[in-house]
Amino acid sequence: MDGVNYLHVKVGGLLFVATTRVNLSPALVLELLQRIARVTKDYLGILNEDSLRKNFVLVYELLDEMIDFGYPQTTSTEALKSFVFNEPVVIDAARLPSLGPAALFIQGSKRVPGTSVTKSVVANEPGGRKREEVFVDIIEKISVTFNAAGYILTSEIDGTIQMKSYLSGNPEIRVALNEDLSIGRNEYGGGFGGGVGMVILDDCNFHESVRLDDFETDHYLTLVPPDGEFPVMNYRMTQEFKPPFKVFPVIEEAGPFKAEIVLKVRADFPATVTANTVVLRVPLPKTTSRVSFEMEPGAVGQSTDFKEANKTIEWSCRKIVGGSEHTLRAKLTLTQERNANIKKEAGPISMSFTIPMFNASRLAVRYLQVVKKSKSYNPYRWVRYVTHSNSYVIRT
């Protein structure tokens, strides 16, 4: 526009915008904006309009140090600490309804990186004593497409190991991953020759601070974590895995103006794990005028909705325990005589969910070792897993 290019990223409902008149790398700008958002979040604890408004000065200060005359300078939270002096005005998280755990999960599923699984302590707790903590989150987004016969057409896992460190003195940390991990499919003849138990990643990339000296042999990453939140490693995997949910849709014709859809969902994961905020969406034929639902007896925390505007039914379950099965029956009333192929008009079914403490890839952190400086030094270490749905589609 007028020779000015506008680039933006959207993080947590805020838009970070950059403008440029030269033909520079879009990836650079977007990464930078993303980084600015993350650093700001590290400083403010929470990133939203209110916290920005209360911390104008601090944000200016940060921007001043991060970018000089349009050239990025330092963007690591840790390095900035020595230049930035304003104290953040901390916004109380509890007062903000939008930041409940559920909201965070939703953000996560929108592929916002830098969203830690649960809210943790704010970076600079003013006055208070800092708690020695380090969080490692393994966040996986899974994409699966089933065909009409229930077979998996494509499946992919995009995972991130996120770390958020509040350790003083920046000690070295060792993250040990699965013993049976291997990277690159080609080495093992297409990835299937490597044994059934193997965890095979197609490809991965690492944060700057990670040293990979021992990765090839012992599968651990050594790093000196910078302050704040950052992705240690991103990985991608197309190895076959057991999808956490199976959906069996049945579409039946029940007369010229009626049809019935039966959805059965089976949770294929251990009973110790519970999936949250499971939502199934089924697009219906355009001629659908009314839908009546029949839930299974004794269903708790389930709700159903027919969205008139886009002719979709939504079935949401707050919780699904591993190993359980749930069914929903939906009776449709059509305004026109249905076509021969109602199956073509309904679907594909899409599903979204979050499963804490579960990861489909079986990539695991065996241990997390903080290289100790003294005997008494024993920081809290947290390792958490979560699996989000990215694109979970069941074709009909």
Binding site: D2, G3, N5, H8, K10, R21, V22, N23, S25, P26, A27, L28, L30, E31, L32, Q34, R53, F56, V57, Y60, E61, D68, F69, Y71, P72, Q73, T74, T75, S82, F83, F85, N86, R111, V112, P113, K141, S143, T145, D158, G184, D202, D203, C204, N205, F206, H207, E208, P231, M233, N234, R236, P283, N310, K344, P348, S350, N390, S391, Y392, V393
Partner: protein
């Protein structure tokens, strides 16, 4: 907040600040902080707090760093608007520049350089010089950027004080990587601006690409921050290594960058790799293999915006080497959660990577999308299926699928499919029987979109033999002629009825009559003309008419591509830039005067200040004729587009040039040409000939054939050009966009002329003496945009626009000429050529 209220608050703040200014009481700093914060948040929400300037400065005599920073921020914001007030701050800023704390030194220096007040430049030089020699890296890196800021305020005082030289020394020897990075970006920016005026700076800039510099940068590569790494990589990508060994060494050093989590670093590295291996085909291919996995990982990590940026680059690579990605087609499957812009890109990539082994699966997947809720994507995927069909030899399965789409009975699916089936039939006429059987079942009433309707009508006309009810369906269409809103369909209908007539005369003759009479009465010029043309052709001789309207067709083997390979190459050269995302070379979307590597010619700079905006009403009347001309040619474009369903293979620019010749040949213009290009394509007659000669075709054709070549061979009277034409860049851009290329010209500079042509400037000056002005020029490759104007032409008319590209190695210059009045283009080309030939002989 109303104005009075706000004034009151400001006054109150002012008073409080005054009070605090002198106070030394304990706790006063905290109070000040609160006040400053208030001021700054006012400033942020857009309230003018400049009236507090002097109070703010008074209060800034403090040792509190937080206060200082806020004060600097305030000052930096208002200094430009209030230079006299800014002077107040110079004193304490200069003092701070010599503070013991490096942090304060750096801060003060940065604020000092950010004042952007021209008359304070003298105070800047000293602190900057000291800053560059500071013992602290932070201060040095601030100073390095400070030099660039100084350059933008006052270029001469920057170069006069030898700052670039100092920067270069730091670049090679400084211990702090951030300083090195900042020196590099300052130098690059200064020298590329400076390089447009001075040759020395240009050479200086090239010397940055010297082996020593590159190696010293690469050797300490890992020390740089990720952003600095991007910058260095960008520079490295321009470097040409001495031998293959060096290339391999460089790639070894950079290889692990491909595993970086920052997509900017990865893309920059890929750019280096691609450019390094440009001349080594086999390694180049390995690079593709190597970068595939990291790119795919980047696409799936990161936010939607980032992954789109990466995906665009992947798209570019896929388009360049589809075979290499053929086995990765599954990665390009759309995900439910992808935003539609991502899906669209993926569909294009799927289309590109389709080959014999994966076609079946890809098409199966695409067929699923056809039922997508998102109508736009559904349409795209049907088109994608069609494109794949056009690429492949084994279309059997695809045709079946397409035909299945027709049975889905969704309007838009049917519409898209019909268009595709038509294209398919043009390429593979052997499938006609299968297709026609299904198409025949499509109820003509369910087709509403003009394109689809036109396609259906075309098929009815073309395959009138195979479709028993073709004449009757056409009859239905003709009867509802008045309700048909789209000229495109009516044109197609005329042609189809005519074709049907040749095939099944007894059944169609009445319909044809009806269609023609509807055509005569049609308000649309093109429809009217086509009806008239057919009528006269038929009158003249039915055989001739058939030869023109319904010639035997050859299958179209290649459809015209949408982007020329030249443009694609250019975008590829600009890998890792916005050009890839926009899919346009940068010169198409950047402001001419803002483009960094392109200089704005200084001499025309003065004429740009007053961009005249001629109101439409005060245009002299003789322009109307030309305007008409323009309008007409726009018409022709529309026309050729309308029929282009049938004539993708036909080069429309050729048509235009020919058209222009006929324009000059026949003084009174015959009615707008509307001949059916598709049909004319196969006839031996030049298309333009048929068009303008409705009255007596044969005679005129002879005439034209005799005239055409001789017209171009005739020497033109020398044009009188306006020595001082005025055209602002925006109008230039607009004209350039509107006009079609009237002529192209090639000229080879003699060797001695090339000696003088080391940069754009000499030629720019030379052309000026020949009344041809430069709008913009660029180096590497040498490229110019010129313009000239007829001597007595009224404002904003009679312009000639030229794009001239000079290949320095061969001296070959090729020019594209566009003109307001294209009939004068050949004459202008003559004078341009003579002007060029004089260059270097002076």
């Amino acid at each position: 907040m109303n104005a009075d209220n706000r004034k009151g608050e400001l006054a109150e703040l002012k008073g409080q600040l005054r009070q605090l200014a002198g106070s030394r009481a304990p706790g006063v700093e905290d109070l000040k902080r609160e006040l400053y914060k208030k001021v700054i948040s006012y400033l942020t929400v857009g309230i003018d707090v400049s009236s507090l300037f002097s109070e703010m400065v008074m209060c800034s005599a403090t040792s509190d760093l937080v206060l200082k920073k806020m004060c600097y921020l305030y000052v930096g914001n208002y200094a430009r608007g209030y230079p006299e007030l800014a002077l107040l701050t110079i004193n304490f800023l200069q003092k701070d520049c010599q503070d013991d704390d490096p942090m304060i030194r750096g801060l003060a220096l940065r604020s000092l350089c950010s004042l952007r007040v021209k008359n304070l430049v003298e105070y800047l030089v000293g602190p900057l010089q000291r800053g560059l020699k500071d013992s602290n890296g932070y201060v040095r890196s601030v100073a390095a950027i400070g030099v660039l800021k100084l350059y933008h305020i006052a270029p001469s005082s920057c170069t006069d004080n030898d700052f670039p030289v100092t920067l270069k020394a730091l670049l090679l020897h400084d211990s702090d990587p951030q300083v090195v990075a900042n020196c590099l970006c300052s130098l690059l920016e200064i020298l590329s601006i400076e390089g447009n005026v001075s040759e020395a700076a240009l050479r200086e800039k090239e010397s940055l690409l010297h082996r020593n510099v590159i190696l010293s940068l690469l050797n300490r590569f890992k020390e740089f921050s990720e952003w600095a790494q991007c910058l260095v990589l960008e520079v490295v990508s321009k470097y040409v290594p001495e031998d293959a060994q060096e290339t391999h060494d460089m790639m070894d050093v950079l290889d692990d960058r491909l595993q970086h989590a920052n997509s900017a670093v990865v893309l920059a590295t890929i750019k280096v790799f691609l450019h390094l291996t440009m001349s080594m085909a086999d390694v180049h291919q390995k690079v593709y293999e190597r970068i595939k996995a990291p790119l795919l990982t980047l696409v799936s990590s990161g936010s939607a915006e980032q992954s789109y940026a990466v995906l665009s680059h992947l798209h570019l690579l896929v388009m360049r080497a589809p075979m290499l990605f053929a086995s990765d087609y599954k990665h390009f499957y759309c995900r439910y959660s992808d935003p539609s812009y991502v899906k669209k890109l993926k569909l294009e990539m799927l289309t590109a990577v389709a080959n014999e082994s994966n076609t079946y699966e890809i098409v199966t997947e695409l067929s699923e999308y056809a039922a997508n809720v998102d109508v736009a994507i559904a349409r795209e995927s049907i088109r994608a299926v069609g494109k794949i069909a056009l690429q492949q030899y084994d279309v059997n399965a695809i045709v079946d699928r397409l035909l299945q789409f027709l049975e889905m009975e969704k309007d838009y699916v049917t519409a898209e499919t019909l268009v595709l089936v038509k294209d398919l039939l043009r390429k593979y006429p052997q499938w006609s029987h299968d297709c026609i059987a299904v198409v025949g079942n499509v109820s003509s009433k369910s087709v509403t979109e003009p394109k689809a309707k036109a396609a259906l009508v075309w098929m009815l006309g073309e395959y009138a033999y195979d479709m028993s009810d073709a004449p009757y369906v056409l009859e239905g269409f003709v009867q509802s002629w008045a309700e048909e809103d789209f000229a495109e369909v009516r044109l197609e209908l005329l042609t189809a009825v005519a074709k049907c007539f040749f095939k099944r005369p007894p059944e169609t003759v009445q319909i044809l009559g009806a269609a023609l009479s509807f055509g005569f009465a049609d308000a649309n010029q093109d429809v009217h003309d086509r009806a008239l043309l057919y009528y006269r052709l038929l009158q003249h001789s039915v055989e001739v008419a058939e030869r023109v309207i319904n010639p035997p067709k050859q299958a179209v083997s290649v459809f015209a591509g949408d982007q020329s390979s030249e443009i694609k190459d250019r975008i590829f050269d600009e890998f890792n830039s916005l050009a890839v995302v926009y899919r346009q070379p940068s010169y198409m979307f950047l402001d001419k005067d803002q483009r960094s590597p392109f200089a704005f010619s200084e001499d025309t700079g003065s004429s740009i200040i007053g961009p005249q905006s001629p109101g439409r009403e005060d245009l002299p009347s003789d322009i109307d004729a030309r305007d008409n001309d323009l309008l007409l040619s726009a018409h022709e474009k529309e026309d050729s587009r309308a029929v282009s369903n049938g004539s993708h293979g036909y080069s429309s620019s050729k048509f235009h040039t020919l058209q222009e010749f006929t324009d000059s040949a026949f003084a009174p213009r015959s009615p707008s040409p509307t001949q059916p290009i598709r049909n004319a394509r196969a006839t031996p007659l030049p298309p333009a000939a048929v068009s303008s000669t409705a009255a007596s075709p044969l005679l005129a054709v002879d005439d034209l054939l005799g005239l055409g070549p001789s017209a171009s061979a005739e020497p033109f009277p020398p044009l009188k050009l306006n020595p001082k034409p005025v055209l602002d860049p925006a109008s230039f851009k607009r004209k350039w966009g509107q006009l079609t290329v009237a002529l192209t010209l090639e000229y080879t500079f003699p060797a001695q002329a090339m000696v003088g042509l080391t940069g754009p400037q000499p030629l720019v000056r030379h052309m000026q003496t020949n009344s041809v002005q430069c709008m913009a020029s660029g180096n590497a490759p040498l490229k110019f945009f010129f313009f000239a104007q007829l001597a007595d032409a009224p404002a904003n008319t009679g312009f000639f626009l030229v794009e001239l590209v000079v290949t320095t190695s061969s001296g070959l210059a090729s020019a594209k000429i566009k003109a307001d009045d294209s009939s004068l283009a050949p004459a202008f080309a003559d004078s341009l050529q003579s002007a060029l030939s004089k260059f270097g002989s002076l």
